[in-house]
Symmetry: C2
Subunit: 219 residues, 2 copies
DNA sequence: ATAAAAGTTTAGGTTTGTCTAAATTTTGTT
DNA sequence: AACAAAATTTAGACAAACCTAAACTTTTAT
């Protein structure tokens, strides 16, 4: 079995590599995990010895197939617990991440699968992130970053790619949630921010940083 | 905040002291926690420094009020999660202990209280052990060990004081669960075992060891 | 092409929680 | 009361996961 620390490294590598698409640097990991680069080097040597990552000194790290399997299992647990917290315990979407970070390390196959059944095999978590299946598949939905919409176009919010409370609370304040109907009214060329109408009601201006974290499907 | 190891020591001290009734020896703790007495001595020094226990070298250890508060919070979490696993995820009573051992260390006040509400403020866990309230009170129910029943007397099983799968599976096999109606048919003086009729149906002989772990209320 | 800057690793420590072996204290027996 | 046995603590190590400081690679900019 893997320690909590190991699991957190593997999860971080998975996320930073975009699901295994590219290698990840020591500094990026140190940053994501809030540790020092020296500690990351140590751990990478260890994970490499366990064949969970492919690691070449000074050249970054990638998950092996084994590592990716571990990552997906942890992410599956994390997202299922988030669904549980929101749907069953009435947590708000900005309150779940920290708790799920702890629950994702509970070890029990039976538990995960029973939880999945109890929740009716949800496909996405409260932020719209897809939940890996038991076999490690990730159902993909066609979606577009809000920053890619043109003036006049509309979309339904299906995902927000940042689970930090501060960001989610900002969206609460603005009035955006999963399912919100958005229309681009205007583009401000100066900084690529967009003027967005929410649910044919309120209108706001969103920075390109925020726009890149919100994903929509066609209405 | 306390580490998982600290929490496990505190829980073990609580249990071995019978809820704080008497002191606990180093060896007893080592035994319960499956560590060496030397490790226990170390940890007791540490817990004592944090004022969670009252510890006199060579003379055993007791929880302070602070320690008892911590113990009760952990036990509350443990038992609530057990209820969740059985009632919501269809775990059997012999499958919950190990998983709850992990879940009890998840830190979130909000989580515990929401869980309690979700489960409808249960008073006992699946083994009949009472669930401490948010204020650290333990609802006491008048109950008797099965070993204390006389011939002819009857009782309803309300609690089994051993959560080890092997014991619970033995009860499954025999056909005893919470709520079972028991009647003492005969006492075997030789070893204090009792002949017990279960649900006015099957009859079995239970050893005094088993009898002392089963508790009943008046029918 | 090379030197400075940036990124990464190694060396040597720290803390937590464990261990074994040795020393100490308490208990129990005669 | 004294001594052997049992229980407990201390001393000294170790692994995991982290740290700082120094050394080493790679990248970038001139």
């Amino acid at each position: 079995m893997h320690s909590t620390a190991e699991e957190n490294y593997i999860k971080a590598i998975y996320k930073l590599s975009g699901g295994g698409a590219h290698g990840v640097s020591t500094n990026a990991l140190a940053d994501a995990l809030d540790t020092k680069p020296a500690s990351v080097s140590d751990m990478l040597r260890k994970l490499s010895a366990k064949d969970l990552v492919h690691y070449v000194k000074y050249r970054g790290v990638q998950l092996t197939d084994d590592g990716r399997r571990v990552a997906l299992r942890i992410i599956r647990k994390h997202r299922l617990w988030e669904v549980f917290l929101v749907q069953k315990l009435n947590f708000a979407w900005d309150e779940v991440h920290e708790v799920a970070e702890q629950m994702e390390h509970v070890k029990s196959e039976l538990l995960v699968n029973r939880l999945d059944t109890f929740l009716n095999h949800p496909r996405v978590d409260p932020h719209g992130d897809p939940i890996p299946t038991e076999n490690g598949e990730i159902p993909q939905v066609e979606q577009k970053a809000l920053s890619a919409l043109e003036v006049e176009q509309t979309g339904i919010v299906c995902r927000v790619k940042d689970s930090q409370p501060a960001f989610l609370q900002y969206l609460n304040r603005v009035g955006i949630q999963i399912g919100s109907h958005l229309q681009v009214l205007d583009k401000i060329a100066y900084d690529n921010s967009l003027e967005i109408n929410i649910n044919r009601n309120k209108t706001v201006i969103l920075s390109s940083d925020v726009l890149s974290k919100i994903f929509v499907i066609k209405p």
